[in-house]
Symmetry: C2
Subunit: 133 residues, 2 copies
């Protein structure tokens, strides 16, 4: 008789949570979102930002920024929002915006699968999609 004989009849799987800090430790490059999870046809992406991005907009969707570390500024044509850790902002569909971070900032992005980081622009800053970590 082995030890397994005293286990309950149905063994329970321990599912693995997604740890944001552990995922952030897996990459260092800037402006290159990494997918960590999908909910229906939406993706959760971690990204590290530093410096100035380009003006762009997303034609078909809102875009959520949740700051995990550092300070993010998002410029709009008519204004600005400043985000600190634990703060979020949803950029409405079609609204031009330009993220800026004086020092490195860690952000959780939430948006539909397939959204291009530079919106309708294609530049050297355009990152490939669906890079999972």
């Amino acid at each position: 008789m082995t030890d397994t004989a005293i286990l309950p009849q149905v063994e329970r799987t321990s599912h693995t949570p997604i740890n944001l800090q552990a995922k952030l430790a897996l990459f260092s490059e800037h402006w290159s979102p990494k997918v960590i999870a999908e909910m229906n046809d939406y993706q959760f992406k971690l990204v590290k930002l530093q410096g100035d991005f380009l003006w762009h907009h997303h034609q078909h969707t809102d875009e959520t920024f949740l700051v995990l570390e550092g300070h993010l500024r998002i410029d709009f044509r008519d204004g600005v929002v400043h985000l600190s850790p634990g703060e979020m902002y949803i950029v409405p569909k079609g609204v031009e915006h330009k993220p800026f971070a004086a020092d490195e900032v860690h952000v959780l992005l939430i948006e539909p699968r397939g959204v291009v980081n530079t919106g309708t622009e294609t530049t050297a800053l355009t990152a490939p999609n669906d890079i999972w970590i």
Copy 2:
């Protein structure tokens, strides 16, 4: 001549970020999600949980749990996941689950507008939807 004469031609609006801790300070009841933002037809909801919830599932959508404070256990019929602050888990569509928190836990829920907290069940724990804070 007043001071306003030296302002730039286009005044820039300072948009307000959504501060999760500030929103959490606005309510204390358990098991009653509060909407803080919408992205397309998805909602971000804060909820405080303590104790044992009921078994339920959501027929038409995945459901995202991101733990902000405390420790959350989600039981499944075949397993369990333990979530600490900074950890998330997406419960797949149709999967029965039962949240449990020994001590109070603060969670950011992300799911489509209209999802009922008790899924297909209606009980005393069923919370009204679209309560914004």
